[in-house]
């Protein structure tokens, strides 16, 4: 950079709006940095031989005198003109819009984080706000879920519709202003790559190279959806960031936070508790320490897409994001457009270099083709309007000229036309090829084949990996689950874990219930309430209690300490909330009656008197067991538990609580509303099950009086 001419206007650190426009507000002393130098260095060679002395217009339409020496884009202007242009580098209103945009981005990101941290099973703090609001804004989820699983999540429609209308009006505002993944990328850009500079694209040519990948990915995914294989979920932005937060951001935060609490409590120093003795209780400040399998793959994807931003700003959003691709297709008809007065352009190419998504083409003075802007790539970041020194770019929401003229609201040809568009390079052949390849991918990777277990695709493929309660039938569940991991975040016992290959390639990162980590808590319905796609349908605790079987517990006689060895252990019966584990007496002739004597001890008459005694052993009543896994979790035989839940007899059919279309915004009174009618529905089942609950211990007693008093629902709620 040593060859930069010193008279070149070195712009100063602005810090006002962050676009680095050089407007000079709030300059810190000693913070001068060469910023426009980057432009100059690139521009220098291309302009050397032009030999033109352009007559250009500034914003107010007055002619600007050009200087003789051509060295850099500004060298044609006098120093006085340059100073004025620096001070008033474009549209003041655009500066303010950029500030608003950044505020909105930060605010929505904070809202996302707050909603994420509020996604816990304790309902006290939810205030009826739907905690997966951002997931529901992602209507690609709703769409692909509906196509693949034939199950539409009614309540997901509201926020999705809002984003659809917003996109029809203003293009990809969602990407630039709302998307938490986009904001995360912007923040990391600012911290890691951009630092004080305006931009870091050294070459202009690379911006268009990979644009089509997102459309190809979208079409591939749509093709694969015909066979219920969902590959879009790996790139779906909100699923991706939620998954990353659950697996990779939240666990370290909780570990570090709890570690500092332990230090503050002097827990590790003298074994006692300093703060407890001082009268403080810090246990409420602790965060849940959750563990998840398979965090590494998720982390690598996230780190990779942050790393790609070092190559192009927002590489992910430009080239790979399937939801961005969908919004890009929709935004072709949007109203918020860039109106560019090309006759005032001085070809400084600031907009072309600084456009966050590389939207501008052919702005070179010598370009053979017409200068173009691509609205399908634009995320309405307003940076180009801000940095334009001559204010020829104006972003305005107008009724499209064609509509105006068709309705005779304006004479033909008089309405201002937006910029010429770069067409999406996506011909019929590519579309068909991509869709076909997607279908091929679907056929070869689906893991819930229709012939599995006889006739229908309803059965779980794996007999030990349980699905959460309320899960759709297996093939539909695999298609509908978007792997956002909200159910795993919300699970109060950390029981829901991402699957590895239990369900084949198709089932990676889908939730499975692992009772040895945590049981399915008795009255918890959080995973059904939080699922954004309805893959886990909302259910009530009555559904879980009386209808939805996740599996069936089974006792392994060879390792159970009661069966094998005759020790006194009744933990599984103690913990079972449904009284499904029943202990009975059995006689075991391999156990010594008196443990101090050998088993073949003979008495004075020569008769064996020590062989065999009574033992008390667990059995499972299959009518009462729901497969919640509490018995497996508490079983003292470790690491393989003696009572294990298998997916036998699992039941995934139930009448789910009705939803409203606007539940996505505000699920008011949801807990009471979803319980309506459930009592009547299950009254007969409840009565039937109460008959089977054994009230007497194995050691007898009539006990019929106590049996009449037994109430399987002691809370009395509902």
């Amino acid at each position: 950079m040593a060859d930069i001419p010193q008279e070149f206007p070195t712009s100063r650190s602005c810090g006002g709006c962050g676009t680095g426009c050089g407007c000079g507000s709030r300059i810190k002393a000693g913070e001068q940095r060469v910023r426009l130098a980057d432009i100059a260095a690139v521009r220098k060679n291309s302009r050397k031989d032009s030999g033109l002395s352009p007559v250009v217009m500034n914003a107010s339409g007055t002619t600007i005198a050009t200087s003789e020496v051509g060295d850099g884009p500004y060298a044609r202007f006098t120093s006085e003109q340059k100073r004025k242009m620096r001070e008033q580098p474009g549209n003041r209103a655009a500066h303010n819009i950029v500030k608003i945009r950044r505020t909105v981005q930060v605010a929505t990101f904070i809202l996302f984080c707050v909603l994420f941290f509020m996604t816990t099973a304790t309902r006290e703090n939810s205030y009826g706000i739907n905690k997966n609001l951002f997931m529901l804004m992602d209507f690609l989820n709703t769409l692909k879920n509906g196509i693949a699983s034939h199950h539409f999540a009614i309540y997901a429609i509201g926020p999705g519709l809002f984003i659809l209308l917003l996109t029809l009006w203003g293009g990809r505002i969602f990407c630039g202003w709302i998307c938490p993944l986009g904001t995360a990328i912007d923040i990391s850009d600012r911290l890691l790559y951009r630092k004080g500079r305006l931009f870091y694209t050294k070459k202009r040519s690379d911006t268009r190279r990979f644009r089509n990948w997102k459309y190809i990915y979208l079409l591939l995914g749509l093709g694969a959806l015909t066979y219920g294989v969902d590959i879009l979920t790996f790139g779906d932005p909100i699923s991706l960031i939620t998954r990353t937060f659950t697996f990779c951001i939240f666990p370290p935060i909780s570990y570090v936070w709890n570690g500092f609490l332990n230090v503050a409590d002097s827990h590790y120093i003298h074994g006692g508790s300093l703060l407890y003795n001082l009268g403080y209780n810090i246990d409420n400040l602790r965060l849940p320490t959750d563990h998840y399998y398979n965090g590494l793959g998720v982390l690598l994807i996230f780190v990779g897409l942050i790393g790609l931003s070092g190559y192009q700003e927002r590489f992910w959003c430009r080239n790979l994001c399937p939801y961005g691709g969908l919004l890009a297709l929709i935004s072709r008809v949007s109203w918020l457009r860039h109106y560019i007065k090309m006759d005032g352009c001085i070809h400084c190419k600031k907009c072309e270099f600084q456009s966050r998504m590389g939207c501008y083409d052919n702005l070179d003075k010598n370009a053979k083709q017409e200068a173009m802007h691509s609205i399908s790539e634009c995320i309405q970041c307003f940076r180009c309007e801000t940095v334009c020194p001559t204010d020829v770019i104006q972003i305005q929401a107008r009724v499209p000229a064609g509509i105006k003229e068709a309705l005779h609201l304006a004479p033909s040809g008089s309405a201002p036309r937006p910029e010429p568009q770069t067409e999406i390079d996506l011909g019929k052949r590519r579309v068909v090829t991509a869709l076909g390849a997607g279908v091929l991918w679907g056929t070869v990777t689906q893991s819930a084949p229709s012939a599995y277990q006889g006739s229908i695709r309803r059965y779980n493929k794996n007999n030990t990996a349980m699905r959460p309660p309320g899960a759709l039938p297996e093939s539909e569940f695999l298609a509908a689950c978007t792997r956002c991991a909200e159910c795993m975040k919300v699970c109060p016992t950390n029981a829901l874990q991402p699957a590895t290959f239990e369900f084949g390639l198709q089932g990676i990162w889908t939730p499975i219930l692992v009772p040895s980590i945590g049981p399915c808590a008795e009255k918890c319905t959080s995973c059904g309430d939080v699922c954004p796609t309805g893959a886990i349908r909302p259910f009530t605790w009555q559904d879980k209690r009386y209808k939805l079987k996740m599996g069936l517990a089974s006792v392994d006689h060879s390792i159970c300490v009661a069966w094998n060895g005759g020790r006194d252990c009744i933990v599984c019966a103690e913990v079972c909330p449904y009284s499904a584990v029943v202990f009975r007496d059995t006689f075991d002739d391999t156990l010594p009656k008196d443990p101090t004597l050998p088993i073949d001890h003979v008495d004075a008459t020569g008769k064996e008197d020590n062989r065999g005694r009574k033992k008390r052993v667990p059995t499972v009543d299959e009518r009462l067991c729901t497969g919640c896994g509490l018995c497996e979790y508490h079983c003292p035989v470790m690491p393989t538990h003696a009572i294990v839940v298998y997916t036998y007899q699992e039941d995934r059919n139930f009448k789910q609580p009705s939803e409203k279309w606007d539940d996505g915004f505000w699920r008011g009174n949801w807990d009471a509303r979803k319980d309506v009618g459930k009592n009547a529905e299950y009254a007969a089942t409840k009565e039937e099950l109460a008959k089977h609950i054994a009230l007497d211990g194995p050691s007898g007693g009539s006990g019929s009086a106590a049996g009449a008093a037994y109430n399987p629902d002691p809370t009395g709620a509902q």
Partner: protein, 338 residues
């Protein structure tokens, strides 16, 4: 290059950053130097020796409307609450409140007994009262259904189900378990360091007074669950007890953790399918107070009428008696029945 000059930090900047990082890292690194030693509930006041004239066990009979009153009478009969709780004490009470069962199902301590006991402790000048039971059921629902949440309403007591290992401190049970019984026979403690690692709640480690408030129940594994078995409601590692034999472990735990006062709720007794029920319930309508858990359990066996349990049939009573924790034979004790 001009840019390079920006990347070079001055020495002062470097020291600032490095010093800050080292301080943070060092502070957090303290977590890896946790003490190898064991905590111990050394502040818990031992049970006062019975004075001449006061009974070892006081038994008061009442009726369902006077459960609170008979609790106070029973404690007064053995010397009054001020003998056990001093002013400024941090008191831990461990009642049976860990089951989602209503009071009439007899799996939990009666709320009236809990409330009166908490009020007595509070009026004796306790600085903090914590009710601990490590619930197997969902603790929020359990505390609500068994009536404990309402029982402590308006008092200074707080309910706690210590369900996370960070709320516990490692203790050495085997340090208080003798190798020989009182008869001189060899005894092999189950709590060997590499066999069972045990932890007690931080609240008990820091407590000055420890009160056990059990309910009389049948237990399908441990035969009975009264004052001795109740201590399993406030330890972390319960799985190993089931694996290595319940009865010796209960007896050894009682050798280590010695309550200041025992108030047993025998107003109702769960006779079958204990400890959770539902099972047959009888109503002896009695509240007992004492300090010797073995004698207390031994005496309370008479309330379990349906199965007809005798103290000799309960192995953990026999082991605790042989280790010298208490007297299984209650015939020689001064028992006052009112």
């Amino acid at each position: 290059m001009a840019d390079d000059s920006k990347r070079v930090k001055s020495r002062r900047q470097f020291l600032e950053v490095a010093g800050g990082a080292a301080a943070l890292g060092g502070l957090y690194g303290l977590t890896f130097f946790q003490s190898e030693g064991f905590a111990s509930p050394k502040n818990i006041r031992p049970a006062p020796t019975p004075q001449p004239g006061t009974p070892d066990i006081a038994v008061v009979e009442g009726n369902p409307s006077t459960y609170g009153d008979i609790t106070e009478q029973a404690v007064n009969a053995i010397g009054g609450i001020s003998r056990f709780v001093k002013k400024g004490d941090k008191v831990v009470i461990t009642p049976n409140i860990g089951w989602m069962r209503t009071p009439d199902q007899a799996a939990t301590t009666h709320p009236a007994v809990i409330r009166k006991l908490v009020q007595m402790v509070q009026s004796a000048g306790a600085s903090r009262i914590t009710l601990i039971d490590y619930a197997l059921d969902d603790w929020k629902l359990a505390f609500q259904i068994c009536g404990a949440r309402d029982a402590v309403k308006g008092t200074m007591a707080s309910l706690l189900s210590p369900d996370h290992p960070t709320m516990y401190r490692k203790v050495s049970i085997q340090s208080k378990v003798p190798n020989k019984t009182v008869d001189g026979a060899e005894y092999d403690p189950r709590h060997h360091y590499d066999r069972i690692e045990q932890m007690l709640p931080r609240d008990i480690i820091e407590a000055d007074c420890f009160i056990v408030n059990p309910v009389v129940k049948d237990h399908e594994a441990a035969v009975i669950t009264i004052a001795m078995k109740k201590l399993m409601g406030c330890i972390w590692n319960r799985k190993d007890y089931h694996r290595y034999g319940l009865h010796p472990c209960i007896a050894e735990l009682n050798m280590y953790l010695r309550p200041t006062l025992i108030v047993t709720d025998a107003t109702r007794a769960l006779q079958t399918r204990g400890p959770k029920g539902p099972g047959i319930v009888t109503t002896p309508n009695k509240v007992l107070a004492g300090t010797d858990p073995v004698a207390m359990d031994s005496y309370c066996c008479q309330f379990l009428t349906v199965n007809g349990v005798t103290p000799d049939q309960v192995p953990h009573l026999v082991i605790a008696d042989s280790l010298g924790r208490g007297k299984i034979d209650t015939s020689g004790l001064n028992i006052k029945e009112m």
